[in-house]
């Protein structure tokens, strides 16, 4: 990255925000995803290819 974040902004806002985000949102979702995976039927498919159904978005978009 060419421009670095200011340490103060990173320390006071971004790092605590990331920590809370991980504890309050990602961890419960992670457990939920773990439980869903546990109960999901094991796939018997013989391929790991994923068919591309969605066309590539226009290059105007960042997604």
């Amino acid at each position: 990255m060419t421009s670095r974040l200011t340490n103060k902004f990173k320390k006071t806002i971004l790092i605590p925000f990331s920590f809370l985000l991980f504890i309050l949102v990602f961890t419960p979702l992670g457990f939920l995803s773990f439980i869903i995976k546990k109960f999901k039927k094991t796939s018997t498919k013989r391929t790991f290819w994923i068919k591309r159904t969605k066309k590539i978005n226009s290059m105007e978009k960042q997604f």
């Binding site: 990255m1 060419t2 421009s3 974040l5 902004f9 990173k10 971004l14 790092i15 925000f17 990331s18 920590f19 985000l21 991980f22 990602f26 961890t27 979702l29 992670g30 457990f31 995803s33 013989r46 391929t47 790991f48 290819w49 994923i50 068919k51 591309r52 590539i56 978005n57 226009s58 290059m59 105007e60 978009k61 960042q62 997604f63």
Partner: protein, 611 residues
Amino acid sequence: MIKILGISAFYHDSAATIIIDGEIVAAAQEERFTRKKHDPSFPFNAIKYVLRESQFNLSEIDHVVFYEKPLLKFERLLKTYISSAPRGMQSFMRSMPLWLGEKIFQKKMIFNNLKKIDVKFSDFNKIKFSEHHFSHAASAFYPSPFNKAIILTLDGVGEKATTTVAIGEKNKIEIKKEIHFPHSLGLFYSAFTYYLGFKVNSGEYKVMGLAPYGEPKYKDKILKNLIQLEDDGSFSLNMKYFNYETGFTMITEKFSKLFGNQIRESNQSLTQFHMDIASSIQAVIEEIVLKICMSIKEEYKIENLCIAGGVALNCVANGKILKKKIFKNLWIQPAAGDAGGSLGAALGYWHQDLNMERIVENKDKMKGSYLGPKFNNEEIEKNLNGLKARYHKKSDEEIFQETSYHLKNNKTVGWFQGRMEFGPRALGCRSILGNPLSEKMQKDLNLKIKFRESFRPFAPSIINEEVSNWFNTEEKSPYMLLVAEVKKDKQIEMNSYEKKLFGIDKLNIKRSSVPAITHVDYSARIQTVHKETNPRFYKLINAFKKLTGCPILVNTSFNVRGEPIVGSIQDAFKCFMGTNLDILVCENYMLFKSEQDKKLVNDYSKNIELD
């Protein structure tokens, strides 16, 4: 006239490309200017260079296309953290502030950086974003000589995809299917690179070079435990053995336990075990790539294949695709890694989004991949004077005659000519050359000039018309991306004692009449030299042939271990004075080491970083 600037950056091998009305005008990697190998930073220097070459200012450029879509990448990151939480917290805490603080605003960041190059650049909407694997696919298909082809892209990871299969026809590309992160052939190979003590995203060539010294003893173990491989070549990695998804290392402790040895320290010597591991992973990769190729040929029934992505630089696997004759024609993008993404992004926008026609010719549109900066004789003389170098100015004819004479006498030559190559290979413009007939050349070049491991092989550059007389192939390989065996009548059969030798001991055996370029398994990574794309190099090899009867030269990149290929005269002279190179030839100027001022010697070997 429509001018498009393609950019790749922020992961590794950042680069810039400019195309004008669909023609590739210039392309270069940032590392060649900043002298930081695989430099990931925003390519200020490469952009300035391609603009200079095109004779346009940045504000006159119509579109700027970045090689991947940042928000898709961010989405993949979030999904990965969710599916693995509470693991990955440390990695999350490190990456999230960076994403939330700046990476998520990549368009603005690119705009601000472009403004630093040209304050008049003011149209925010000129900046577009191509998908990572689409950029690779476009870099492989659009410059190829095919009207219709299957396009296979294989690399570490882009946004979500790690492997894609697409169909290219006329000016359109359609991605048909893909395999998603964390299941990645590139990262799979890199995990072994890491296990063998080499640098990830850099040392993969070493694994490939080491493989022929070993036996694929662990192939079954890998296929049984680490990867599930289906008949159609699709695969899924067993993530219990890999840590790269949310951790800071490539592999877990379980991985080391599986093979019974700890990760090799970079300064630890290589043993037969390491060679067997390299041989095994190479064999697995080849099997997967061949399975994919056979299955997509069967499914789409198209005779042409284009390949790109970092895994496409595995020339041994490419050679196997050719040998199996699965496809009638094969074309591999020479800048197959992320640098080539800048080219693909620009070409992709031109053909796919602007719907511009594509004219297919018999030859590809890469111009030999000679797309970088060039220096004329006046500039060279001025620079050499500034460096206080002692030189001789020669005519073209004298340059070819005298250089070939010195090569015949086993002198090593730094060959700095014409436009710099785009992509990781030196193709006879920024090359170190040697005599392939010499038995000592491989060892000497590795240890005294490149300061690297003695096992690493060197590639032959051969004049195109002669290739089938020396190697078991008739294919053109202008980009050094194919491997073929030295012809039987040029091989020297090993005696019973030599056959029993293992690993590195095989290195000292003379295996063919061109020992310096013959690997231990009689293979060679060939570059065919064509008079249309590199006439000076072609003439030099011809002059060498007249003296020796051999139309081949040893060709290795003009750099030392850990350093990018030289870009400028200054870099070339520094490398010349810092190594045991005997002669430097810059266009029509010839420099002899023995004549240079001893005060200018700069001992490189003390400052070598691991590559």
